[in-house]
Amino acid sequence: MAANKKVLEFKKRREVVLTGGGEKAIQKQVAMGKMTARDRVLAILDQGSFNEYDLFVEHDARDFDMDKKTLHGDGVIIGTGTVNGRPICIFAQDFTVAGGSLGSAHARKITKIMDHSLKMRMPLIGINDSGGARIQEGVNSLAGYGEIFFRNTLASGVIPQISVILGPCAGGAVYSPALTDFVFVVDQISKMFITGPEVIKTVLGEEISMEDLGGARVHCEITGNAHFFAESEIECFEQIKKLLYFLPWSNSEKSNTQPTGLPDPKFDITEIIPEDPREPYDVRDVVRSLVDNSDFFEVQELWAQNIVIGFGKLAGETVGFVCNQPIVLAGVLDVDSSDKSARFIRFCDAFNIPIITLVDLPGYLPGVDQEHAGVIRHGAKLLYAYSEATVPKVTVILRKAYGGGYIAMNSRHLRADFVFAWPSAEIAVMGPEGAANIIFKREIAAAEDPEAMRLQKVEEYKEKFANPYVAASKGFIDSVIEPEETRKVIQHAIEVSSRKDISMPRKKHGIPPF
């Protein structure tokens, strides 16, 4: 039958294209410890859910003998599928085909699936594994990158965008991931940089390996460009699925409310925090004592660790946490921690995720390096992000909330909806020692025993101001609560805020201190 013959021919054609760059190139990919693009897509998506498009797309480049070359799928796979049963758009660059280089057909495939994800309001996952621009296509490949960046920006804040770096991602190509919401990297596999080691060596004489310049660890620990670090691709894919579990599908939806369990009683909120405000504890344990199943999914775990950000569920609804972390730099705010938390707050705000802020900080990090690195303008990002956010905002002051840090950490004054404080909270312009030394400078200097006088004045100050009641008397905090009430109180606050509707002054957009 004629139809059968055509089906057979189709199957033959498809089989050829599905081989990507061919057996040899695939072997090379595997030898580098990498999965193939197709295997990656299949590993992320629910079994049997992948539908591929543009399989037969071919480039139309003519120069440099390109007209004699066939590049299967033009080096990228695009399609739709489901993750945890919910629809998603995905593309994966195929390094086995011309090094995953980006030409105009390749870029058109990517922008096609990007347009779908924005139009259909579903998240986009982009797997980057590419040698960069396809030089033979010249300015066409530059145009391709530009079209992608533009769409990343257009979709920003509308649908969640996830970038996965599973190979090289260099030069201009890095800016697509940088424009997306979450970047996943894998140890020894991911490499991201603007100019590579060779250029750096010839131009500047500095020798550095790709790994040390832009490996997974560098971007998770030093630059903050990446959000999730994994030891293997499979671990990375699990992290992606976990993240998607917490996210709403677009800015017009709320997160999926799923039935979940109570926190694990082994995280006892009354036991975690030492009474002495100078003693450390891991604030993540406090979060675990609050969230469903004690399941806290931390974002940017390895960078700017003096602040902790991440997602959890509260009675099934996703909430975002922003918490000072006393075990690192006493939980101070600085350039990096302001950057990190401000961006997270804006993500939560864009995607209708209530923000819970746990406060325990002595203030800002002092130092010439901080001042010269622009802690003023970076710190301002945090104030901006909190002030601008219109999702339900709940603050719990656990212990210290001094000075500018108190204001910045979602205080009443930045329009927190609910501010609670534990009896151990100290809301003051600065710590007792510093304050007493300034206020009672004369008394201390004039005393027979200045040190004894100083200690006495510090105690007096502590007694009077190192508590939540001064702020409570002014209505800056709504209630003083017992630690064990915290989950219940936050949950109630989120529940009663569920119809929150406030309007901001009409504007094209604000001008955050980027």
């Binding site: 500047l204 004489g205 450390p280 660790q305 075990i327 006493a330 002595p362 990090l365 010439v368 390096d369």
Partner: protein
């Protein structure tokens, strides 16, 4: 006995027990720049030297050429004075912030 993993960290005269991150540990102490020491502002190669130690020079007199990123940068005297010493040689590849010369 367990070793205390926390260190004392001072903020506004109060000591907190905490850990320090790598960035904080690796921060460089700020030093006032001595105008009498000439540093390289970019890494590169010394391709020419025009002056000798002990020479009396005027502000703006060329001292040497530092080639970096295919650009020949003329490094000049920032003030009138006697050149104490040139601390690099012709052909030497130097990093950023390297001492090129000092003035008496």
């Amino acid at each position: 006995m367990t070793i205390d993993k926390y260190t004392d960290f001072f903020i506004e005269e109060t000591s907190y027990r905490t850990t320090l991150n790598e960035k904080f540990k690796n921060r460089k102490n700020w030093k006032k720049i001595d105008p009498k020491i000439i540093h390289s502002v970019i890494p590169g190669t010394i391709v020419d030297i025009f002056v000798n130690n002990g020479q009396l020079l005027k502000s703006g007199d060329p001292i040497l050429i530092l080639e970096a990123m295919k650009m020949r940068n003329v490094v000049c005297m920032p003030m009138d004075g006697t050149l104490k010493s040139v601390q690099v040689e012709k052909g030497q590849v130097i990093p950023k912030g390297f001492v090129l010369a000092d003035i008496e």
